[in-house]
């Protein structure tokens, strides 16, 4: 059975293995610094569909289909598909999951939906509820822009703190046993809200949530940066990553060389006009599946803490001048030769 340690951390006893991964991205992500790492790069960000929403749904569907093909799984091998996205009523995930004959759990945790899906799927596998599950998440620049911000063709200037929603999907197969990197533990986040209200500055709003989860994890498990090859956050981007790094230093942890952010890695911000970097539910999942997982698999990384962050706001809460509640969920992923 899972063991709770400290305030918010849980260790799994079962060997919850990441058996296979798949990533799919749009044209700009494909042209970015990590472009070569992704499985599928679509030149048309509508994927031939009539609307951006249908295009995003197709991107996630193709990502999951690619996942099953890569891992040589049939649909009947998978018990459950769990995932989330940024659109109202998580239509992307639901309409994509409709195509698969699997049990379905939709989750919403904004840009940390992927880690929430990983945590719930791992818990379900640990409890013996399911044997094998697909965890996924997705986001799309144009659908997010439409829902949260302005019409795409509106000629407005972005703020110095703005981030670009990634057009990206990522999906993994989790199973009990087998070979591959293992999810050994998790730290479930708490909502942190330090009264930031600027929806165009989510890196700043989310940084303390990441700091809270990382510091709690270190305290709960009596570890520090020295115990991890890397700590990856989800989409803090340039500004948020700087804040997180400074905060951790103030609390006595030196992250130098062992902390990076998926949104910060995804784009060449200056050349690609990507503001401060990437964001979105698909940002962390695609970068994990495309860039981080292969390094775990070939043991270049032995142990990582993966901490996607989410800004849990809506357009309604923003217009009603609420501050932005933020969260960060962490999972520990290991691939050591000397695993017990």
């Amino acid at each position: 059975m899972a063991r709770k340690v400290g305030e918010q951390t849980v260790y799994f006893d079962n060997k919850i293995t990441i058996a296979e991964v798949s990533s799919a991205v749009g044209p700009m992500e494909g042209n970015g610094p990590l472009g070569k790492d992704f499985d599928l790069v679509f030149e048309d960000d509508c994927l031939g569909e009539s609307t951006f929403e249908k295009g995003e749904c197709m991107m996630l569907r193709k990502c999951v289909e690619n996942l099953l093909r890569k891992g040589k799984f049939t649909q009947s091998d998978i018990d459950l598909i769990i995932g989330g996205d940024l659109l109202n009523q998580i239509i992307t995930t639901t309409f994509a999951a409709e195509n698969f004959d699997m049990m379905y759990w939709g989750v919403y945790s904004a840009c940390s939906s992927f880690s929430e899906a990983l945590q719930i799927a791992s818990t379900a596998i640990e409890a013996g509820v399911v044997k094998r599950a697909v965890a996924c998440s997705s986001s799309h620049f144009s659908t997010a822009e439409r829902q949260y911000r302005n019409p795409l063709e509106l000629g407005s200037q972005s703020k110095a703190t703005a981030q670009r929603t990634a057009t990206a999907s990522g999906a993994v197969v989790l199973q009990a046993g087998g070979s591959g990197p293992v999810i050994t533990g998790m730290t479930i986040g708490k909502i942190i809200d330090f009264d930031r209200k600027d929806a165009a500055d989510m890196g700043t709003a989310m940084a303390p949530a990441a700091a809270h989860t990382i510091l709690t994890h270190f305290k709960d498990t009596n570890t520090s940066f020295a115990d991890y090859d890397m700590v990856y956050t989800g989409d803090l981007a340039k500004v948020g990553l700087g804040i997180l790094s400074d905060m951790l230093k103030m609390h006595g942890y030196d992250p130098s060389g062992r902390l990076n952010d998926c949104g910060h890695m995804l784009f060449d911000c200056v050349k690609q006009h990507a503001d401060c970097g990437g964001s979105g539910a698909g940002c962390s999942s695609s970068v994990f599946c495309g860039h981080i997982f292969p390094k775990l698999k070939n043991k270049e990384l032995g142990r990582i803490l993966f901490v996607p962050t989410g800004a849990l706001l809506s357009t309604v809460s923003s217009y009603q001048k609420n501050s932005i509640p933020c969260i960060a969920h962490a999972v520990v992923i290991e691939n050591k030769k000397d695993k017990k």
């Binding site: 019409p151 000629g155 905060m247």
Partner: protein, 151 residues
């Protein structure tokens, strides 16, 4: 983490240190040159139309139509948002910004159909400008009328 106050204190310090400074001068310069350029171009149109024998008000109305048309075309071609990203207020404040806001909304919401999509949302961005523009001109009109009565 029991000490949330300490976390908050470190956050406020780090946030202040890492806050990027908006490039005010660059934005101001771009807005001034592009906005000014649009005005010079519009004046050129008015003068040209007047030289064809139009009155000033006819020439001014025709110039507005031409500028709105060009904006609509550039918006539909997907070029205007790139210009606006650099020019900022330079393209947003003149009538180009108004035209762009209506055309971009119309393009955007066509996916949800002609009635509830395009029809219902075309003035999503421009609507507030119309509501408060017309209301404030009405208020100014009344004040002016009262001033004339007194004077």
């Amino acid at each position: 983490m029991d000490d949330k106050a300490k976390l908050r204190e470190s956050f406020e310090k780090a946030a202040a240190k890492n806050a990027p400074k908006p490039p005010y001068f660059k934005h101001g310069f771009a807005a001034f040159t592009v906005g000014g350029g649009i005005c010079v171009f519009a004046q050129f149109l008015i003068n040209t139309f007047q030289s064809f024998g139009m009155t000033y008000s006819e020439a001014s109305a025709t110039e507005t139509i031409v500028v709105i048309f060009i904006t609509g075309l550039l918006t539909a071609l997907g070029l205007f948002d790139r210009i606006g990203r650099v020019a900022g207020a330079g393209t947003f404040v003149p009538i180009t910004g108004f035209a762009n806001s209506i055309v971009s909304s119309a393009i955007e919401f066509k996916a949800e159909g002609w009635i509830f999509g395009l029809g219902g949302n075309m003035f999503k961005v421009a609507g507030p400008v119309l509501v408060y523009g017309i209301t404030s001109s009405w208020v100014v009109g009344i004040v002016y009328y009262l001033y004339l009565l007194v004077a």
